[in-house]
């Protein structure tokens, strides 16, 4: 290759490499802010601030969803199977919200460690299948990844 072109090639590689390193360092420094939510285990460890608006994401624990009889208030536990965070919310839940499904709750942790949520988002997972397949899987005793339940 001609030496001038070689020089320009190195310059291009340098630009790509240098900008990657720069952006990489920025995202590394801001990694806490890029995360959309705290997992319950970090809340349990006290890494999430109390009295500030935060988001907590995880699975809605089985048999933890309770609805008030006279209002729209719901309470449930968000878990990552290592720790759980109780959540209280007044309002309408998204359609895909349910037990054993992913959800992200944003709100403020009170001094008792209860998240007083102002917004609940349902988190969809990467599994897509027709209802018959889901039904067959349910009966087969295997989960979606092929492991026995």
């Amino acid at each position: 290759m001609h030496s001038v072109r070689k020089q320009r090639l190195y310059l291009v590689l340098f630009v790509v490499l240098f900008s990657s390193v720069a952006i990489g360092l920025v995202t590394y420094a801001l990694r806490g802010n890029i995360n959309l939510f705290y997992p319950p285990v970090q809340v349990a460890e006290g890494k999430a601030p109390i009295g500030q608006s935060i988001r907590v994401g995880g699975m809605v624990e089985r048999n933890s969803l309770q609805r008030a009889a006279d209002s729209l208030q719901v309470s449930f536990m968000l878990t990552d199977y290592q720790a759980s965070v109780p959540v209280v919310y007044v309002g309408i839940l998204p359609d895909l919200f349910g037990e054993e499904q992913g959800a992200v709750a944003s709100g403020v942790l009170d001094s008792d460690g209860v998240l007083q949520a102002t917004e609940i988002l349902a988190k969809h997972d990467e599994n897509y299948m027709p209802p018959e397949v889901a039904y067959a899987l349910e009966n087969s005793g295997y989960d979606k990844k092929g492991n026995t339940k």
Partner: protein
């Protein structure tokens, strides 16, 4: 073999080759798009949790995949035009930017439409969605930067540098759902290991992804032809084409 590559550097040749490719690629693209859409929307069963709203995947995922791939086309063309001063690489770079911007916009829009019923919100500042928005601004930035220069050679250089710097965003978009806690779900189609989307839904999706790649190529070639005519408007071969069109 090498003469073919050298001829690609000549505008009339590139114009003719692009036209020859388009002649059969456009019908193939239309057939693939129509059959993929009909297959995906009418002949697949609804999802076990999302019902029919999941069908937006047949537009959303192909648009997003090709928007990312298209950025590499633009950035690599930019690098070639910087290093080898190839004018035709500059044409490719300029032609790719608006197509990529349109695809990114489609991915963001369909994602918002799907997000409202599924997540409960149109928009959330999550890593995947924010990095995709940055991708849209990078594409639009290249378009705007090119137009802001009077000297087109300088414009090409500036755009090439911008697209090379922006290239770092592509792996970030791609890996954002694995690196950070995000609302957006991880990929369902996996290159290694089993995909987590049922094969009856996967095949029409793969057809749509192929169709969108073809669509991107068609738009790219059409843009390139238009750009070539504009750049070479004072040359004999363009005058000849204009005369032929005028008579026909």
């Amino acid at each position: 073999m090498w003469t073919f590559f050298h001829k690609l550097g000549s505008p009339p040749w590139l114009y003719a080759i692009a036209g020859a490719i388009l002649r059969w690629l456009v019908p193939i693209t239309l057939i693939a798009l129509i059959s993929g859409t009909v297959w995906g929307l009418l002949f697949t069963s609804p999802d076990f949790r999302q019902g029919n709203s999941y069908r937006i995947i047949y537009i959303h995922v192909p648009a997003a995949v090709v928007a990312l791939a298209g950025y590499y086309v633009m950035a690599i063309a930019g690098a070639i035009s910087l290093i080898w001063r190839m004018k035709m690489a500059d044409v490719v770079m300029k032609a790719a930017a608006p197509v990529g911007a349109a695809l990114t916009f489609i991915a963001l829009l369909t994602g918002a439409i799907w997000g409202k019923p599924t997540w409960g919100t149109w928009w959330v500042w999550d890593a995947r969605i924010t990095s995709m928005l940055i991708l849209l601004f990078l594409y639009l930035g290249v378009v705007a930067l090119y137009e802001s220069f009077d000297n087109k050679e300088a414009a090409g250089k500036a755009c090439a540098v911008l697209s090379l710097v922006g290239m770092v965003n592509i792996p970030i978009v791609y890996k954002s759902v694995d690196w950070w806690y995000s609302l957006h779900q991880p990929a369902s189609i996996k290159f290694t290991g089993e995909s987590t989307i049922d094969s009856s839904m996967l095949y029409p999706l793969l057809l749509m992804i192929a169709a969108f790649y073809a669509l991107f190529t068609c738009c790219l070639l059409m843009n390139m032809r238009a750009e070539l005519l504009q750049r070479e408007s004072r040359t004999q071969w363009v005058k000849r084409i204009a005369d032929e069109k005028g008579r026909g």
